[in-house]
Subunit: 470 residues, 2 copies
């Protein structure tokens, strides 16, 4: 997941128009049904089985790769097997980036191999040059143009650990903005300490961007121990590194958002949206990013779908497995574009894309008339150890484009203390997920989706004009 | 380090001859000096600096590689810089094994990459075949000859975690004996779950052997998550894997044991031996295996060497940085062969080759006349949180060949709870060492070596005839 995009979406959000609508309420029967669903979900292993199936049978599923197509087929079949009433796909087209091989070595008297991985979007190429180390992105950005001519820039910034993942903003900026800063200073290659909180020899990949008009240079992230090693070597004298990447953009690819619906009892044309993204980076098997989100939300819809017809919520539960989140929210943008006219039919949305840690907080930014209903949902979530926060952390990345134009969204905040130990690394594998924590997530999404879909009244979705980009 | 060799050495050891010698004793002045050294060592960072220097400046140092020669030069210079009185090298010749590249993929509908590493000693080659899974080495050994014709054998045994490393015996047997068992059953390739206790995507390498008369097959260890993944895939149906290894034996190489001495005050011709091994596997930088042992014992000798001449222990402290332990105890065997005639001059030996965890127990198997002195050493170690065990876990690997023919040896048992999370993986890097635990080790070796070298009387070193090999 990409937290920066959330911040951007929130920044773009205009104040909601004042309204004197009737208060949205949730009835007692709905609350009783949600309580039953909550207990059932905690005992259910559907979420786990879905993640196990996706990460085992498909494995890594880089957007545009052969496995991308297999993942789309898998999602269609899984929705059907889980009893969803409608299942369909919607095309999402994007440029395709490929990773073929990558290696690096320190040359000279301290010759040794380095563990690194190309940043998504990096061009291939082999460069051999001295390193120039910077403590921070800011320091690199202040480098005099031309001062890095013929050198490799190395930003050695250590990401900080936090439950809410707040360390990722500054760390991912080193990845997204560092290469362009290096090019401006004349560098021929770019290395960074991975945006990660672990101490394993597994580098963290992730997308980078090169500013318009710049000629991209080979750009890669070192594992945390390798970055520390380079800093120790640099303390002894100049360090020359040979960096060899074989990767790059290669045409376009059309993947698909895969959508499954549990049809609502009385207002089937209105939807509560939950989901996650189907693509993953190629290094791990995409268990926490974002197999977990797929498993959690597919299971939540499934549990609601198993109810008797008369127990179904009024509105439809729409579960979306988004295409290519990792390289630029392509699936989320395509969805927002396609459904702009149907925005008011979107009751509320929430996305699971921050691993498989327990949900510890719930928040929804809504107009005043919906605040009581939000509090009712929060109360139904409380037995799961979830607190109600009036000010949440923002919408999930794939829903952020739709949120930016007016869809109401809720946030179920997960404990991300360990998330960035694994995020975008080979270590993002099934064994890192705690089945009980995953079931707690399923319970939370089931309760949330059911109650939002069965509320009398809305949560404030309404078209708004996005603020002009700065 | 290789614990199997310890077990073998112990099994070969004959009972010590009965003796009615005068009891060995340690004087009060020696004990007071040792207590001072102990406190000084706990405040000293020489051990850390030595490991940092070796792992940073030399990095990985596979026996026979270009870095092997750099490590030998490094060790000579480091001994000198630490004030050792004598520094010299002794040649050690062995066959050279090279790792060039390695990769594997699941083929077919669940296509995905696997993380694995060739076992040391494996030939290169590419094989593409169905897997046949076994729960244990025993199950593979019972396979009917010919039953694995054209298949890849896969032993999916999970090593158990233990403070004393006792899980490594059964797990390393899967590595050392599995390939030959697979060949006997007709297999064309061999895969195993790594002998490790972690859950990271880092496979554990290590030496294997092919029995006489068998044609070696490509043999590799999967990371623990990859082995679990294959087992899940096998539960769904047949699995075909393409395994490509480029590695193998390539001539002979002569490296060196590097030896430094702190000359004794009054019996300089008698020595207490401590040490570790200088080589490492190629995947990590050999911090815990065995940079730590080199750092601990070099620092211990250094601290004793800094004493005033009249405070020096009676005997010489000999610190040995052994060549090529990993591929067959070549350095240890060469030492034992060269010094057979001088065996009685070896007062006592202890080796550090089990990481950088705290020492929790001390033991020495000695004749009765030395038991009181051993207890005195144990008492001097007790303030470090070290208990005296009457029955220890056996000599370190490199000293085991010398121990087998009669040298008395002591064991300072380290906490190895986490050792096999890192052992023989890319993750064996400096950051995994706790500087305070390392200093406790230095203190323990300093006290031990000083007191053993200053004892009045011996610890029972005497030539013995090794038992015939079974």
């Amino acid at each position: 997941m990409r937290l920066t995009s959330i911040a951007i979406a929130l920044a773009l959000m205009l104040p909601l128009p004042a309204a004197a609508k009737q208060a949205t309420r949730i009835g007692d029967a709905s609350l009783a049904q949600a309580a039953q669903l909550r207990e059932r979900a905690l005992q259910d292993d559907t979420g786990w089985k879905v993640v196990e199936s996706l990460t085992t049978e498909v494995g890594a599923r880089l957007a545009g790769s052969e496995a991308d197509a297999r993942a789309v087929e898998w999602a269609k079949e899984k929705f059907k097997a889980l009893g969803y009433d409608k299942v369909w796909t919607e095309p999402v087209t994007f440029p395709k980036w490929e990773r073929r091989s990558e290696s690096a070595r320190v040359l000279g008297p301290h010759a040794q191999a380095l563990h690194l991985t190309a940043l998504g979007g990096s061009p291939g190429g082999t460069v051999e040059a001295q390193l120039v180390r910077f403590d921070s992105l800011d320091a690199l950005q202040k480098a005099t143009p031309g001062s890095l001519a013929g050198k490799i820039a190395f930003v050695d910034y250590q990401m900080l650990r936090a439950r809410d993942g707040s360390g990722y903003g500054p760390a991912s900026a080193v990845r997204s903005r560092g290469p362009s800063a290096a090019i401006r200073a004349g560098a021929i290659g770019y290395l960074m300490r991975s945006a990660g909180t672990d101490s394993h020899r597994n580098p963290h990949t992730g997308i980078t961007r090169y500013d318009e008009g710049l000629t991209p240079i080979p750009s890669a992230a070192l594992s945390v121990p390798d970055a520390a090693q380079l800093s120790r070597l640099l303390a002894l004298g100049p360090v020359t590194v040979r960096l060899s990447l074989d990767c790059g953009w290669n045409g376009e690819y059309t993947s698909h958002n895969v959508i499954g619906e549990i049809t609502g009892r009385s207002k089937p044309g209105e939807v509560v949206v939950i989901g996650g993204h189907l693509d993953s980076w190629d290094l791990g098997t995409g268990a926490i990013d974002d197999g977990a989100g797929i498993g959690i939300t597919m299971a939540a819809g499934h549990l609601i779908g198993k109810l008797l017809k008369r127990q179904r919520p009024a509105r439809t539960i729409r579960v979306i497995a988004f295409a290519n989140e990792e390289q630029g929210l392509y699936g989320g943008k395509a969805y927002a574009q396609k459904y702009t006219a149907d925005l008011r039919k979107h009751q509320l949305g929430a996305e699971s894309d921050f691993g498989a840690g327990r949900v510890y907080a719930f928040a929804a930014k809504t107009p005043d008339h919906a605040k009581a209903a939000v509090a009712q949902i929060a109360q139904a979530l409380a037995p799961l150890g979830i607190e109600h926060r009036v000010d949440g952390e923002g919408c999930g990345p794939d829903l952020s484009p739709f949120h930016a134009i007016g869809m109401a969204c809720a946030v179920l905040s997960q404990d991300g203390t360990d998330y960035f130990d694994l995020h975008h690394t080979p270590d993002d594998t099934l064994d890192k997920i705690d089945p009980q924590a995953l079931a707690q997530n399923v319970a939370a999404y089931t309760v949330f989706a059911y109650l939002a879909a069965d509320a009398e009244g809305d949560f404030g979705s309404a078209p708004k004009v996005p603020a002009a980009q700065p």
